[in-house]
Structure formats: structure tokens, C-alpha cells
């Protein structure tokens, strides 16, 4: 039987080998080598999940301890891995979608002088992300958690000579550190009480614990802070929009399909704890729903095609958290799965557009590209239909699963917000679609030079399009796959997929169609400009993301900087000055003692004599 850790090594090998030797490898081979390793990892992952599937449903959990991490203050915390159906889903998506995006990157980054660096980072990301989802305890999870943040930092700031990219990378890292320390504090509290941070150990302890004690509310909240930062939940969401500074395949892989869903993974993973903290579970659902509609509103009038997609990711992550908040775990995971397909598809299609236009991302300079990029247009359309929740595309099934269950559980407000957001989603996605592919050519020069991407980029896009169309069919198998895991957890009785009443489906799809039609009327028929609506409230506010950046800056960043500046300019000189005055005092005594150092050798001789005499006397007396 192979070990769980096997999947980790190919991407790590790739990262190290490319970092060390990348400059010496012939161009192109770097990307091929990196992609091959991810393919190997995917194959190993399929083998491991297959092994899991061959076990009895109740026995599908596989632990592996590598070696002790830290010891000496209580029970040891080991390097420990854990594979169960839940982490299996992530394992396959990370390596599978990851592989497609690697292949796409061979074409997308082929001309970039930093290609080797890019693939080293990308492989490193896959390694870190696998470590995160395969971790067997919270310490190992946190290490993976921080390392994906580091990979994200590297890749957001990939073009490190661009000040906006550098600033975005720093913002992403620091905001995610806030999440990291939340998890850190949560896990030390759990260790303090239970002397373990491994999932099986904690779950065993949780099974007898009382619901709703402050300890659980606090620890759940701290872990949720980590999830909030990583999955860009309000108010820790701004870094994700800025993260679009990275190359577009990175946005597809890290900032849409995989890394930003780590928060969803963590919340589902520790659901036995969440169940003990009903207030926090409620908060997760509320903030999820709010993030969904809030981000959707910001996406309305964005001018940059990637920003539209970034805010749509925020919004869809909100749906996933909404699902977790109402206990619809399988639905949340299902939406992660379909989202990984259609959002990766949307980003890669957008990447093909950007590639075709030589790096242009401004919707105001696109238009009429459908004739030049027919495949890309078709792919983007599939993505739009999927994310808008139009049946029978995959997004429809997973979104319905979440909203239906919210309705069934009686969460009317969350349900209503989710339904409304579905309509908004259709509007802003189709706005981007019509502005890009239809209507008048807004920049003749760009349009003239546009060309369809090479096969190495098109094939992954087509494969993802197929998955985005058919992904809905995975509902039933996924539910069966995850069911036994959830069934073993107390409080997860309604975790499986459920159908909502017919009218919620009709309403949601109806609103989505209305949204799409409005977008079509405005941008497909009347050919409004991308800038339409942004010169007055509320459009101006929506474009400016409701001023959250400014709010953070005023409330946190500037006060800290000002305090530091005050310490540096005022307090520190005073402290050092006080020490200096003490020094002056010492010099004053020294002045008094100066006569002793007369410079006369005979006096020194005398003092030496006295000293030696005293020592001799001591020894003589002693004997």
C-alpha cells in the first residue's frame, strides 16, 4: 500500500529542481517538466482515493505519521497526514485542475523571461495546498495554510517591478497573516484543553462536549478568522481583488479554484467543533450571505475583466460559507467543486482574451472579439451560464443545493439574499460577456491583432468547459461519497444534499434569466459603454468597492504607522536621551575618581602591591 505523502513529493521535487536548475533548462521544458510532475501527483492521488473507495464506507479514513514535529512540553505534535473522502475531493481538484492550469501556463507564460521562476512557484503552491488539505492535525494544516499564502504572495508579486503588484502581494500576505495567527491562537487553546490537535483526537473529544460553551465559541471563531482571511470573507476580503495583479492562470488556480476555498475546507473539516459553537456557525452563514451580495454589487460596474471575476469569486465563496452556515456541508463542497470548474474556465478564457490583446484587461477597450476568438467566446459563455445558475449547467445544481437547503432549514433571510445574488450574478457576468465579445469594436488596433490562443491553451479550456457543463452530474456520487463521513459527525444530520421546494428553483433561475436579459438589453443591444453608470452614486460607490480599502486604511493602517512614527521621532529620542543623561552622571563620578588615575607609575605600583598583599594574606590565613 502506498503512503499518503506520495502525492506531496512530485510538486516539491518540481519546485526545488526548477528553483535550483530552472535557468539551465531549455525554455518550454520547464513548463512541461512542471506539468508532468503534477500529472504524476494527480495519478497518485487517484490511486489513493481509489484505495479509500475500496474500503468499507465507515472505514474511509487513513492516517499517517511521518516523524515528530515538536515535542517536550506535553504529548508530541507530529508531522501527520490524514486522508478521508473530504480531503480526497480537494486532493483530486487541486491536482486535476492544477494540472490543466499548468498546461495552459506553458502557453500563457511562454514568452515571459521569468518562466522558470513562475513554474517553480506554481509547483510549490501545489505542494503547499496538498499539505494543507492532507494535514492530519491543525499544526500541519497551519504550515500548509501559511505556505499557500507564501505561494500566493510570490505569484501576486510575480512581476515585482510593478509597484501595484508589490503592494498587492504585501497586502495579501499581511491580511493572511492575520488569519494565520487566528488559527494559531485557536489551536493552542485546543491543545491546552485536549493535549492534541489531530483531527481524530479532537473529534473524539468533541463528541461528549456540551454545545455552546464559550470555549468552543472562541476557538471556532479563531479558526473562522483564518478561514475568513484565506477565503476573503468580509471584512478581510480586499486583498483578493488586488491579487489580480498576478498572472491570469494564477488567478484561476490560486485565487479562484483552490487556495481561496481553503477556508471552506477548514470549516467543513472542523464541523464537529462548529456544531458546538452555534453562534459562530450562524455568523459564518450571515457573513457568507453578506459577502455574496456585497461582492456581487461591487462586480456590477468593474472596468477590468479580471476584477469582475475576482468579485464573482468572492461572491461565490460567500455561497459556500452560507452553505456551511446552514449545515449544508455536502452542498458547500459541491459548490466548491463546480466553482473550481467554471471559475477556472472563466479565468482561463479571460486569460486567452488578455493574451490575445497583449495584456489588455480593460473592458472599455474590448468589444466585438467574438469573431476573432470564437472558441474563447464559447468557453466564456459556458462559464457565464454555469455561474449564473442556468440549468443544466453545473453551477445551477450546486447553487440550488445550497439555497434549497437554506430554505428547508428556515433561514429565510439567507435564502432571500442568496436568491437575489443569483440574479445579480447573471447580470454582471453577462455584462462582462457582452462587453468583451459582442457589440462594436472599441479599440481597432487591439482588435486587429487579436488571435485565438495556441492549442496548449485551448485544450485545457475546452476540458474545463466540458466539466463546467457536466459537473452537475456529480451531485449524486459526491453525496454518496461524503455521506458516511458526515454521518459519523454529531450535529451533521442535515449535511447531505437535499432538494428545496420547486418554487425556489423557479424563482432563482427566473431572476438569473432576468439578470442575463437585462445585461443583454443594455450591453448586447443598446451597446452601453463599460463606463456607463459609474459617474454617480451608487455606481461610483460600487466601483470603489464601497470604500472598504479607505476604511481599513483609516481605522488600522494609518494609526499604526502614525504610532510607529511617533515612537521613532519623539519617544525613542527621549528614551535614548534619558540614558545619555545617566551616562553624563557616570562621567561625573568618573571625574571624581580621576585623581586615582594619576599617571604616576609609583602609585599604580603601590596599588598592585596592596592587591597582591591582600591575596597573599588571604591564602596564608586560609592555610
Amino acid at each position: 500500500m502506498q503512503s499518503i505523502s506520495a502525492v506531496l513529493w512530485p510538486p516539491l521535487l518540481g519546485a526545488v529542481s526548477i528553483a535550483a536548475l530552472g535557468g539551465y533548462l531549455p525554455k518550454r521544458w520547464v513548463g512541461v517538466w512542471a506539468s508532468l510532475l503534477i500529472l504524476v501527483s494527480f495519478a497518485l492521488g487517484v490511486g489513493e482515493v481509489g484505495h479509500l473507495a475500496s474500503l468499507a464506507p465507515a472505514a474511509r479514513a487513513w492516517s499517517e505519521t511521518l516523524f515528530p514535529f515538536v515535542t517536550g512540553f506535553g504529548p508530541a505534535v507530529p508531522w501527520q497526514l490524514f486522508l478521508d473522502p473530504l480531503s480526497g475531493v480537494w486532493l483530486l481538484v487541486i491536482t486535476g485542475v492544477g494540472f490543466l492550469i499548468h498546461v495552459y501556463s506553458i502557453g500563457y507564460m511562454g514568452e515571459d523571461p521569468g518562466e522558470a521562476r513562475y513554474f517553480a512557484f506554481l509547483n510549490f503552491f501545489i505542494f503547499a495546498m496538498l499539505l494543507l488539505v492532507l494535514a492530519g492535525n491543525l499544526v500541519v494544516l497551519l504550515i500548509g495554510w501559511a505556505l499557500v499564502g507564501l505561494a500566493s504572495y510570490f505569484l501576486i508579486g510575480f512581476w515585482y517591478e510593478r509597484p501595484s503588484a508589490v503592494a498587492a502581494a504585501k497586502k495579501a500576505f499581511v491580511m493572511n497573516t492575520l488569519g494565520d495567527v487566528g488559527i494559531l491562537l485557536g489551536l493552542v487553546l485546543l491543545y491546552l484543553r485536549y493535549h492534541t490537535v489531530s483531527y481524530p483526537g479532537l473529534f473524539a473529544a468533541f463528541s461528549h462536549a456540551p454545545v455552546g460553551s464559550p470555549f468552543f465559541e472562541w476557538t471556532a471563531f479563531l479558526l473562522y478568522v483564518g478561514a475568513m482571511a484565506k477565503s476573503a470573507q468580509f471584512p478581510l476580503h480586499m486583498w483578493l481583488a488586488d491579487a489580480m495583479e498576478g498572472p491570469t492562470p494564477v488567478s484561476a488556480l490560486i485565487h479562484a479554484a483552490t487556495m481561496v476555498t481553503a477556508g471552506v475546507y477548514l470549516m467543513v473539516r472542523i464541523y464537529p467543533l462548529l456544531h458546538l459553537a452555534p453562534a459562530i456557525q450562524g455568523l459564518i452563514g450571515d457573513i457568507g450571505a453578506f459577502t455574496a451580495i456585497f461582492a456581487a454589487s461591487i462586480a456590477f460596474f468593474q472596468q477590468d475583466i479580471k476584477k469582475v471575476l475576482a468579485y464573482s469569486t468572492l461572491s461565490q465563496l460567500g455561497y459556500m460559507f452560507l452553505g456551511v452556515g446552514v449545515g449544508a456541508l455536502a452542498a458547500g463542497v459541491f459548490h466548491f467543486l463546480t466553482h473550481a470548474f467554471f471559475k477556472a474556465l472563466l479565468f482561463l478564457a479571460a486569460g486567452s482574451v488578455i493574451h490575445a490583446l497583449g495584456g489588455e484587461q480593460d473592458l472599455g477597450r474590448m468589444g466585438g472579439l467574438g469573431s476573432k476568438l470564437p472558441w474563447t467566446m464559447a468557453a466564456f459563455l459556458v462559464g457565464c451560464l454555469a455561474i449564473a445558475g442556468i440549468p443544466p449547467f453545473s453551477g445551477y445544481f450546486s447553487k440550488e443545493a445550497i439555497l434549497g437547503q437554506a430554505f428547508n432549514q428556515g433561514h429565510w433571510v439567507l435564502w432571500g439574499v442568496g436568491v437575489l445574488t443569483a440574479g445579480m450574478t447573471a447580470f454582471y457576468m453577462f455584462r462582462a460577456f457582452f462587453l468583451t465579445f459582442t457589440g462594436p469594436v472599441r479599440d481597432a488596433h487591439l482588435h486587429a491583432h487579436a488571435h485565438e490562443a495556441p492549442g496548449v491553451m485551448t485544450v485545457p479550456v475546452v476540458l474545463l468547459a466540458v466539466l463546467a457543463i457536466l459537473g452537475g452530474a456529480l451531485a449524486e456520487p459526491l453525496d454518496r461519497w461524503l455521506g458516511p463521513t458526515f454521518a459519523a459527525w454529531p450535529g451533521a444530520s442535515s449535511a447531505g444534499l437535499q432538494e428545496g421546494p420547486l418554487f425556489t428553483t423557479v424563482l432563482t433561475v427566473g431572476l438569473a434569466v432576468v439578470g442575463a436579459v437585462v445585461a443583454w438589453r443594455l450591453y448586447g443591444v443598446r451597446h452601453l459603454e463599460a463606463k456607463a453608470g459609474i459617474d454617480r452614486a451608487p455606481g461610483r460607490w460600487m466601483l470603489a468597492a464601497w470604500g472598504m480599502d479607505t476604511a481599513w486604511s483609516w481605522a488600522v493602517v494609518e494609526p499604526l504607522k502614525a504610532t510607529g512614527e511617533y515612537l521613532r521621532a519623539v519617544v525613542e529620542p527621549a528614551v535614548l536621551g534619558a540614558v545619555g543623561r545617566l551616562g553624563q552622571g557616570v562621567l561625573g563620578w568618573a571625574e571624581d575618581l580621576r585623581p586615582l588615575e594619576s599617571g604616576y607609575v609609583r602609585r599604580y605600583g603601590l596599588s598592585i602591591l596592596v592587591g597582591v598583599g591582600a591575596l597573599l594574606a588571604y591564602y596564608l590565613i586560609r592555610v
Binding site: 516523524f67 514535529f69 495554510w145 515585482y160 504610532t563
Partner: protein
């Protein structure tokens, strides 16, 4: 074995003078590597060697040295960092420079080995001298001023400690009839109620100056700024540990039972240092000062672990001393090379050199990430253990500490990005890292990585005798 640890660096420091000027660096390197080899032998032997020679028996002064869980890895840190500092020093530095570096290694090792307060005091004073002369390596008045400040402030601290030491021996004699300077003996002495307060203060002042901890860090900015980079690396890497080591070796054993009432005060002091250092680091314009105040902030974190009076906290502090030593040592040397290559350490004039100095940049980022506590690297482990200790009985301080970790990410990235990234600058006159520089950076980076991935290599070996040494065993102080 213990003798060899002391005598190899001392002997080689003498040999330096017999070598031709050009061979001084090679000689010093051999000396430091030989010391390292002795330390590795101690580690591999698995025992905890010690020696105890009667010296001035009537006063309870023994020449008592020993290795235990507290000192074992600090000795290793001293050996590694001395070798690294010599590697990182240009060969053009004269014999005196390398002599003083080896002498510093001898004195530091003596300090970490001492188990008798009298011996401890002698080595405590002995480390002042080499640093004083090393600070004046570069000619000019600024180095001399920094050296004088270092000497005077530390001498004042030492005087306080001397009073504390003598008082301890005298009160012990009053209580038992015999004098003793043995730490292990004094740990069981009950101090007079009227004296314990000022005795503690005397030791605290000495240790806080050496570390340094706020507000007794007056010597730090100039000394760190003026010293050649490898010497700054030794100052921040090894010497700063002397102060916090004193807290563990002397302060906790002697005063542990009396600390209950003032624990909150001590924790608050540590947290003030932690926050102050971090906020200062956030706004510095000189790259070396960013690292200097970052180091000061980290010492506050270590002090928090110590004053948590828990096993996890003390273990974390001990681990963090070693981790901080290698990370900060590496960072200061890299910053020194940066200054050499670019001719400035002013952040407002730096930026955009990544493209010209990719290797320097990569190592710079690596050490910066280690310092900011990236999980997977050793800074994280120390912080994790210290927090594990703090949440036992001081959750509020743990909350402040984790917020400072966020600030740490901010100031370190501001430093790295400000120096290396952004719009490109014309190529510098200096070159990227050469192979002799890589011979320093790569092994040290690998060591950092090893400590980050496998901290149990230290903690499993250090823990049992560490708790013994600081008097944190079941039944005395908190256990966790």
C-alpha cells in the same frame, strides 16, 4: 569535553598572532570549526558533561561548568554563528579582528557553561571586551562612540548584578552559615523579604541591558549600526541571548517562587518591549535599524515565554533563542552585503535591485520570512511554543503577541520589498553574491530550514534538563 569547548577557541585565538596576516581568516575559521566539531561531539555523545573544580572554597566559589538542556543548543548556536561570522568576514580584516572574534566565542561559551555565579560574572564581563574592540573595527569617531556606550551601559548593568550576586552569597551565608555562589545551591535559599525586591531588580537591570529590553536599549542602535555586519550578527545572534539566558539560568532558579506577585508586571514589561520594537521597526528608514528593532521585539517575545513560567513557554523561549540567533545572524550579514554592494542602507534610496541581485534577494527574502515567523521555518516554532505557554494563564498577552506577529509580517515585507522590489534601478557597481558568500548563506539557510521542519531535534533533547535547570518541574511553578 567541557574543557575542549573553552580551550579550543581560546588557544586558536592565540595562534592567530603566530600566523601571517593573510592567513588570519583561515586560522580563525579552523579554530571556529574545531570548536564546532567539539560541540558536535558533545551532542553526539549524548551525555551532559560537566566539571566542578574547587577554587576559593571558603567563599563557595567553584570553577563549575556544565552542559544541560538550557545551554546545549546555545553553545551550538555560538559555535555555528562564530564560524558563519568568520566566513562572512572579508579576509582583509586584520589579525586583531579575528582574534577578538575567537576570544568572543571563548567568553560566550564560558558564559553559557557557567554554573557558579562567580564564574558567570567573570565571563559576563569578559564578553564586553571583544565587542568593545570589534565595534571600533572601522576607523572613525562613530564606532568609538558606539563602543563607549556599549561598554558604559553594560558595565553599569554588571555592577548592579555584582551587588546582586554578593547579596545572594551573603544572605545565603546568613541563612545557612556557609558562603555559596553555586546557582544550584542558591536556588534553594529563601531570601529575606526586605531584600528580594531589590535583588531581583539588580539582576533584571543587568540582563535587560544586555539583551536589550526596552527602555534599556540605549546602546543598541549605534552598536548594531556601526559594527561590521558579521559583528552585528554576533551581537544580535549570540550576545543578545546572554541577557535572556541570564533570566533562565539565574533569575528563574533564584527567584522563581517569589515571582508570583510580580508576574503580571514582568509580562507587561515584556509585551511593551515586543510592541515597541515592532512599531519602531515599522517606521525605520535604515535597513539595519529595521532588523535591530525587529530583534528587540523578538527578545520581548522570548521574555514573554520566560515570564509565562510554564514549561511550554520556557521551552519556546529556549528554542527561539537558538532560532532567533541563526535567523537574525543570517539577516544581518545579508544586510551588510547589501550595504556593501549598493553603498547605502537608506530605504528611500533602495528598491528595484531584485533583477540585478537575484541571489542576494533570494537569501534576503528567505531570512526575512524566517524572522517574520513563517510556519515551516523556526521562528514560527518558538512563537507557537511561547503562545502555548501564555494561553495557560495569560491569554490577554497571547492575543497581543499574535497581533504583533501580523505587524512583523508587515515590517519585514516592507523591508524586503522596499530594498529589492519596485521599478528597476540601474545596475549597481557591486556584484551579486559570490561563491564565498554563498558558502556562508547556503549552509545557514539549510540549518534554518532544518530547525523549522524538525524542531523536535532541539526540543526533545533540551526539554527534561531544561525544566530542571530553571526550576520548572512538577510541584514548583506551573506545569504545561
Amino acid at each position: 569535553m567541557v574543557w575542549a569547548l573553552l580551550l579550543v577557541p581560546l588557544g586558536m585565538s592565540g595562534v592567530i598572532w603566530l600566523l601571517p596576516r593573510g592567513a588570519a581568516k583561515a586560522g580563525a575559521l579552523v579554530g571556529s570549526l574545531a570548536t564546532l566539531a567539539v560541540w558536535v561531539a558533545v551532542l553526539a555523545a549524548g551525555g551532559l558533561p560537566s566539571l566542578d573544580w574547587p577554587w576559593i572554597g571558603d567563599w563557595g566559589i567553584d570553577f563549575h561548568l556544565g552542559v544541560d538542556g538550557l545551554s546545549l543548543f546555545l553553545l551550538g548556536l555560538t559555535a555555528v554563528l562564530t564560524a558563519a561570522a568568520i566566513l562572512a568576514s572579508p579576509a582583509r580584516r586584520g589579525r586583531a579582528y579575528f582574534f577578538w572574534i575567537l576570544f568572543l566565542e571563548f567568553a560566550s561559551i564560558g558564559l553559557f557553561l557557567a554554573l557558579n555565579l562567580f564564574v558567570f560574572y567573570i565571563f559576563w564581563e569578559a564578553v564586553l571586551v571583544p565587542i568593545f574592540f570589534l565595534l571600533t573595527t572601522e576607523p572613525g569617531p562613530r564606532g568609538r562612540a558606539a563602543a563607549l556606550k556599549w561598554l558604559i551601559m553594560n558595565l553599569v548593568g554588571s555592577l548592579f548584578m555584582l551587588v546582586g550576586i554578593v547579596a545572594a552569597a551573603v544572605y545565603h551565608a546568613e541563612a545557612t552559615g556557609t558562603y555559596s555562589f553555586e546557582i544550584g545551591v542558591l536556588a534553594h535559599t529563601t531570601w529575606p523579604v526586605g531584600a528580594v525586591g531589590w535583588m531581583m531588580a539588580a539582576f533584571l537591570i543587568a540582563f535587560a541591558i544586555k539583551a536589550p529590553l526596552w527602555p534599556l536599549h540605549g546602546w543598541m542602535p549605534e552598536a548594531y549600526g556601526e559594527a561590521p555586519a558579521p559583528v552585528t550578527a554576533l551581537l544580535a545572534g549570540v550576545l543578545s541571548k546572554a541577557g535572556v539566558y541570564g533570566l533562565l539560568r539565574v533569575f528563574l532558579p533564584l527567584f522563581g517562587p517569589a515571582l508570583g506577585p510580580i508576574r503580571t508586571l514582568l509580562l507587561t514589561w515584556a509585551v511593551v518591549d515586543l510592541v515597541y520594537g515592532a512599531l519602531m521597526a515599522l517606521r525605520q528608514r535604515d535597513v539595519k535599524m529595521v532588523a535591530a528593532y525587529a530583534s528587540m521585539s523578538h527578545l520581548g517575545m522570548i521574555a514573554l515565554g520566560i515570564f509565562s513560567l510554564t514549561q511550554a513557554g520556557v521551552l519556546g523561549a529556549t528554542f527561539q533563542m537558538v532560532a532567533h540567533g541563526v535567523m537574525m545572524g543570517g539577516l544581518f550579514v545579508i544586510l551588510g552585503w547589501l550595504e556593501e554592494t549598493l553603498g547605502t542602507r537608506d530605504l528611500s534610496q533602495l528598491g528595484g535591485y531584485n533583477r540585478h541581485l537575484p541571489r542576494l534577494s533570494a537569501y534576503f527574502l528567505f531570512f526575512a520570512l524566517a524572522v517574520l515567523g513563517l510556519p515551516g521555518l523556526p521562528g514560527f516554532v518558538g512563537e507557537y511554543l511561547i503562545l502555548q505557554g501564555l494561553v495557560t494563564n495569560a491569554v490577554g498577552y497571547a492575543v497581543v503577541a499574535v497581533i504583533v506577529l501580523v505587524v512583523a509580517a508587515w515590517y519585514m515585507l516592507r523591508l524586503f520589498q522596499g530594498a529589492m522590489q519596485g521599478p528597476p534601478k540601474p545596475p549597481p557597481t557591486g556584484s551579486d553574491l559570490r561563491s564565498w558568500q554563498l558558502a556562508f548563506a547556503l549552509p545557514l539557510a539549510l540549518l534554518v530550514l532544518l530547525l523549522g521542519v524538525w524542531p523536535a531535534s532541539i526540543t526533545s533533547r533540551a526539554a527534561p534538563t531544561l525544566y530542571q535547570a530553571v526550576g520548572l518541574v512538577a510541584g514548583r511553578g506551573g506545569v504545561h
